[in-house]
Homo-oligomer: 338 residues x 2
């Protein structure tokens, strides 16, 4: 019943019959095999378009054992950083002819990440890139499903899995040195949450510059990346004396700090200079426009696919680490101390 609507989609055999060739010849045409006579090719192509045939990639994947799908495991893709990396990854993957299957986690504990990877492996992805900015997530990479190529982004540097990351330490050094160069005696720091690779790298970079310059190193104020955390930190900072320069571990927290200072009547950059991290699109239009550290997330995404494909094609996973340098963007939230 309902024969006309339920008519099944044409398969290779239908095309073969229509074109008067064997199914294998159809397959050859589809896969650009060289040894097909031009007129045969034309006949097959005509049959394909006449029937509206589309090849079934699932069947193909079954026999080739390649799904041409890559998995991506990420933390909260609502955030600018992960979202941008995801974007770069997807673009690069599609350009290389791969599909991208995503899993977006609410929490990056090892069990969750492991589950996500297993889930993708079961689906038959050819490889995974794990955006693993937390130490806990890194642990999940120590026990990958047998032979699954993987790349860690912002990973933990200890798993043996190839990784690509942004040089957090250098970014923080750039920010801190910039403030010192402007004549500030020292720099306060509003950090990201503990356990995050980025937090630790930024703290390290900030601390190292201060120590090298022989400056006092104030206790960092711990945040959680949210503007609200920055706001709270900003209120504390405003109540302290002697604060002239603040380095916030991301732009959203810098915004919160800015807001708190504005509320308390502290002028930026006249009384306090602020530097952020990330260069989100909004930063340029904060009041004042934010000096920040630019991270090229797109490049990170592209590199990670590059590394992954190299593993897939070569069948081996030599450890490799790609570090992307950040850059300082000076705007109006920092000024020479008076």
């Amino acid at each position: 019943m309902a024969s006309s609507t339920e008519r099944r989609l044409p398969v290779m055999a239908d095309v073969a019959r229509e074109a008067g060739v064997s199914h294998q010849t159809v397959s050859r045409v589809l896969n650009d095999h060289p040894n097909v006579r031009p007129d045969t090719r034309a006949r097959v192509e005509a049959a394909i378009s006449r029937l509206g045939y589309r090849r079934n990639l699932v069947a193909r994947a079954l026999v080739t054992k390649r799904s041409r799908t890559l998995g991506v495991v990420s933390f909260d893709t609502t955030l600018y950083g992960p979202a941008s990396m995801m974007y770069g990854i997807e673009q690069a993957a599609r350009t290389a002819g791969y599909f991208v299957s995503i899993v977006s986690l609410k929490s990056l504990d090892a069990a969750n990440v492991r589950d996500a990877i297993d889930y993708l492996a079961e689906q038959g992805v050819d490889g995974v890139v794990v955006i693993a900015p937390q130490r806990s997530a890194g642990r999940a990479l120590e026990s990958l499903p047998q032979g699954l190529p993987a790349v860690a982004v912002e990973g933990s540097h200890t798993t043996g899995v190839p990784e690509v990351c942004i040089d957090q330490v250098e970014g923080a050094r750039l920010a801190t040195r910039h403030l010192l160069d402007l004549g500030h005696e020292t720099v306060w720091h509003v950090s990201g949450p503990a356990d995050w690779m980025e937090s630790e790298g930024r703290i390290e970079g900030w601390r190292s510059v201060l120590e090298e310059a022989g400056r006092p190193v104030p206790e960092p104020l711990a945040g959680d990346w949210s503007p609200r955390a920055g706001y709270e930190a900003g209120k504390s900072l405003a109540a302290m004396r002697g604060v002239t320069a603040v380095f916030a571990a991301n732009d959203q927290m810098a915004l919160g700090v800015l807001r708190a200072l504005t509320e308390k009547g502290v002028r930026v950059p006249e009384q306090i200079s602020i530097v952020g991290f990330d260069d989100i699109p909004e930063s340029e239009f904060f009041s004042p426009p934010l000096t920040t550290v630019r991270q090229d997330f797109d490049v990170v995404g592209r590199h990670s696919i590059e590394l992954l494909l190299r593993q897939i094609d070569a069948g081996l996973s030599a450890y490799e680490r790609l570090v992307v340098p950040p850059s300082l963007v000076v705007r109006s939230s920092t000024a020479r101390v008076r």
Copy 2:
């Protein structure tokens, strides 16, 4: 050669042999078929974990003709709105046991969208959700691959494809009425780019409230969602006389407006009130904190999956339209006119 590393992954037959049953019984255990004796089940499960067996979903998809994968086509997932919807979609899909394969487009013209959908269809997705906020994208939905279930998000309302969207008109009405209620004579509008559904809805809502109240309707200033466009519009607005209230079509442009006004020494909200749209996480910490219209992207994502799964399960696609109401969030960028 290299026999130990290249040993192929175990398949169902291996498990069957190990457990002393038929491969079909293994399949039944895996699929929670009720008629399996508990001790048989236990034996099979033991064999599975002993061998580290993982089922091959590709092979399963080939025979069931269901990949349990959903496709999502979206525009620039770097933006807060699309990223949030994507997140909601992915969460909902995974909860329902589906994988999510994404395609993130740089431009939403009909050809691009059609290609993306075809691409996903070839991969064998069970359905697609298309985040199609531009009219041009909507056109691609008029010719879907044969029998492919689809849902449009922020779609064009004319394609017959089930859709879920946020009530843009109502959101704009809320914003405009709020400003009128504060005693403003009329409200200027910085709009999104033409051809976008959201732009048009927001213009319509804004205009309708002004007209109903018998107020003058100023020419909208055309933007492109970016903070920079808002900044340019803000400079124009600052140069005009009689402007006391501005409704920007999104928060980023509102930020730009805010910045321009601040630069020109115009105080917000004392001299000019501003309302945005989206309620991005940063808005609360702008200077001043932004009054805006909240859109629940998460809910939109969840609803779209709901609609899609209903189509897949029922095998039919009765037109259905789900409208999610927005809400006004009053903060400090708006004030009673003096």
